[in-house]
């Protein structure tokens, strides 16, 4: 069983969200991926600090994309903590009253910002999954681009709320260390090069139950990202946990709430 935590409609052939979803599933079928989590729209926001109309449109496109494939595709809502009330409204629209099952926070604001506390508390009430993009860029992060250390600070304020450290910080040797002492933080393995050793170190330092496979398609290849798990020198049981079981377990409460078959 393979569930992919990290998929986009961007970078995929197709004129409509449905066509792009269909393309993603064609490749997923070839590679044996059972379920895809999609977030962000047909083209990423023009701004790193998107206005509410912008992120609402992105979420509308995701809802449209997954609508015909609820058995294969799930979606997260994209929010901007700099527009707190509008983000809370979007949580209600897309998750409480809509089909989406989690949120994606990107690079609008650093995740140790107080507004993020309010957002994740609300999502947790709804049993939604929380995915935070993180990077350590040696050349310097964007103004609102979070590091795993900032996510760790947020995690320690909310030890009961599960969080996902997207990209493992890119520089995964630092990323794994940064969140190592936050048991409520899992890493997402998608969206960085398939550098050998990532999964071995993550299993050693975090345990296999805190690692979640994701690809970051269409900008990335399913192959390069799957290889991090299937090529790693870890047990088959660990691989199965990482490839699908951990994500499924994290999603189960909200899927049950919504009556979506796991």
């Amino acid at each position: 069983m393979i569930w992919d935590l990290h998929c986009h409609l961007n970078g995929v052939d197709g004129r409509t969200p449905e066509e792009r979803m269909s393309q993603l599933l064609k490749y997923a079928d070839r590679m044996g991926v059972d379920r895809l989590i999609v977030f962000l729209g047909m083209s990423f926001s023009r701004s790193y600090d998107p206005k509410p109309d912008d992120f609402r449109q992105q979420n509308d496109e995701v809802i449209q994309a997954i609508s015909h494939w609820m058995d294969r595709a799930l979606g997260f809502a994209y929010l901007n903590p700099n527009y707190l009330q509008e983000s809370l409204d979007e949580i209600d629209r897309c998750i409480k009253n809509g089909p989406l099952v989690g949120i994606k926070l990107w690079v609008a604001a650093r995740c140790d910002d107080e507004a993020v506390d309010t957002i994740i508390e609300r999502v947790a009430e709804l049993k939604g999954v929380i995915f935070q993009h993180t990077w350590y860029k040696v050349s310097g992060n964007l103004d609102g681009e979070s590091t795993p250390e900032e996510l760790a600070r947020l995690a320690k304020r909310h030890p009961e709320i599960p969080l996902i450290c997207g990209h493992t910080g890119g520089d995964w040797e630092r990323g794994i260390r940064a969140i190592r002492d936050c048991p409520n933080v899992s890493i997402g393995t998608g969206g960085f090069d398939p550098t050998a050793g990532i999964t071995e170190m993550a299993v050693r330092e975090l345990g296999a139950d805190r690692i979640i496979y994701g690809s970051d398609i269409g900008g990335r290849s399913i192959s390069s990202q799957l290889a991090k798990i299937t090529g790693a020198q870890v047990s088959k049981e660990s691989q199965q946990q990482i490839l699908g079981a951990n994500l499924k377990k994290m999603l189960l409460p909200i899927l049950r709430e919504k009556g979506i078959k796991p």
Partner: protein, 253 residues
């Protein structure tokens, strides 16, 4: 499969799961690789280029004769570099060289590079150029190395008809239309170790004839399965798949 992008020994900044030769050879053979073109991780920072090449040639001979095909390191900023080229071909029987212009500090529009290409052309050596070894965003803070700019090859290649250039790890920094232009300008080949995007290989051969695409994994820095799976991710058909997996590289040597 012929894998044109493998390295031996240790990456300077991290131990890798297959950075000793016996497990590396075993892994490649188990995966169906019949020949691996190997450079040395030592090449990027060591200045005793012949020491690097001597160890590489000996390791290939001892642990993978006929399977590990050594590609030597030449750094044209070092004194008497032509002797390294000569030894690569005459002493170590290498079919080509693997260059790291960014780590060695020269540009492809420099006289040094033109001289090096002239030497390789006269000797009919394959020239592999590694555009990057890793994501520039995750490099060691004290060793930040930019990608190689290969645009100057457009002007240079027509002067060296028949020169075989293999660009390794190119796709994260090299985009269309330059990819296509280079393939038209000379005998330029590409591996796809760093090719990303869904269905990437299938899309890449819309920009470059499939006869110019070679299987390369950047193993053991990358998980080998990354490139292996890419051949499955795109629906290539058997003719194209087998050409990319091995046939194109066979014709190069």
């Amino acid at each position: 499969m012929i894998d044109v992008n493998v390295s031996l020994f240790q990456w300077p900044f991290r131990r890798l799961p297959h950075d000793t030769t016996d497990p590396l050879v075993k892994k490649l053979k188990n995966a169906g690789v019949t020949q691996a073109w190997v450079g040395s991780f030592e090449a990027i920072l060591h200045e005793d280029a012949d020491g690097v090449n001597r160890r590489l040639a000996a390791e290939c001979q001892q642990k993978g004769a006929g399977f590990l095909i050594p590609f030597g390191c030449v750094n044209p900023t070092l004194p008497d570099w032509k002797e390294d080229v000569r030894r690569c071909q005459e002493k170590y029987q290498m079919p080509g060289v693997r260059l790291h212009p960014n780590y060695h500090g020269y540009a492809l529009d420099s006289e040094l590079f033109a001289d090096l290409v002239t030497e390789c052309h006269q000797r009919n050596l394959i020239v592999q150029i590694s555009l990057r070894m890793e994501d520039v965003r995750t490099q060691h803070p004290l060793v930040q190395v930019p990608d190689v700019d290969v645009k100057p090859l457009l002007e240079l290649l027509p002067k060296f008809p028949g020169l075989k250039i293999v660009l390794l790890n190119s796709q994260r920094s090299l985009r269309s239309p330059l990819v296509t232009q280079l393939a038209k300008a000379g005998d330029v080949y590409y591996d796809f170790a760093m090719l990303e995007g869904i269905g990437g290989v299938g899309k890449f051969i819309e920009d470059v004839p499939y006869q110019r695409v070679l299987f390369g994994s950047h193993f053991p820095f990358f998980y080998f399965e990354s490139s292996q799976l890419k051949l499955k991710e795109s629906d290539l058909g058997e003719t194209i798949r087998s050409a990319i997996a091995a046939g194109n590289a066979e014709k190069l040597t």
